[in-house]
Subunit: 63 residues, 6 copies
């Protein structure tokens, strides 16, 4: 514990994911007082056709 | 808020997803009194080999 | 299938939830062509101190 | 009910998944007293670059 | 890994949960070839007013 | 986007959650290049009887 899930659009590089998990883990260690090895992070990548806001798919919003 | 996740078998067209998120958003606006722009919907597509019911994978059920 | 999860602030009445699941189920039946008895909906209620946007908890935003 | 989600690294064979869902369903039937046909299991497969522990991606750990 | 989430109606005893996590962990070890200490299980308990099937809340079905 | 879910044991203060969401949001902004107002964080609090590792509930481990 904690178990973190991060959903974001696909397309980030491994380097960005590497920095992200390092930083997010540090943030949790500092603020909720846990051991870094207790932090698990799952990244879920989503296509723009699979996220909607305001009743509209993201793949339809950007133009 | 609300955040909606919909898990379904892969294979729907973008047109079906487009209608689905429009309709589901409207349903939420009408029934729980929220703003349409507050509704986020994440679609997760699942392969038939990754869903089971009654101890059996869906890819094994259909024959 | 589909399995739907709806996260929203706590405080809705059972009557609102009842209407919500009826409407959302209908929306899915109409748009992605599934049987109504195949639609499962899980509602997750969240306290305002457990949701954040823009780095701020909702319980701190409203004043 | 119950609805089970199992996240694991990609790369298991269908035969392994088939055995897994059979066994997990039986375990639930035996221990929490439910009908086997009430047990739904969703498998989510994750790439090693999408899981981190101790601030490090799994794809960076194994060497 | 694996990370397992089990959603079920509230009301199971700790003894039932204890047996359930023991059995489910064993099932995973046997079938997908993982170490028992790698298996994490999160139980989520749901009220009958927060689950619906076929457009109807469970708290309305049972009578 | 991103949508972040953080599961952790219950018992953190609002002050700890406040710091946590501020820090995690900043970490995401810095590393995956998103707007802070696009970051949503859901906190899920779990009882020790609802998490297991190595086939054992956490409420049984600590003694």
């Amino acid at each position: 514990m904690p178990i973190v899930q991060i959903e974001m659009f696909e397309g980030r590089t491994i380097e960005q994911k590497r920095e992200m998990v390092k930083e997010v883990t540090r943030s949790l260690v500092r603020t909720v007082n846990c051991q870094p090895e207790a932090v698990k992070i799952v990244i879920r990548e989503i296509k723009k056709e699979n996220l909607a806001e305001d009743g509209m798919l993201y793949c339809d919003r950007e133009s």
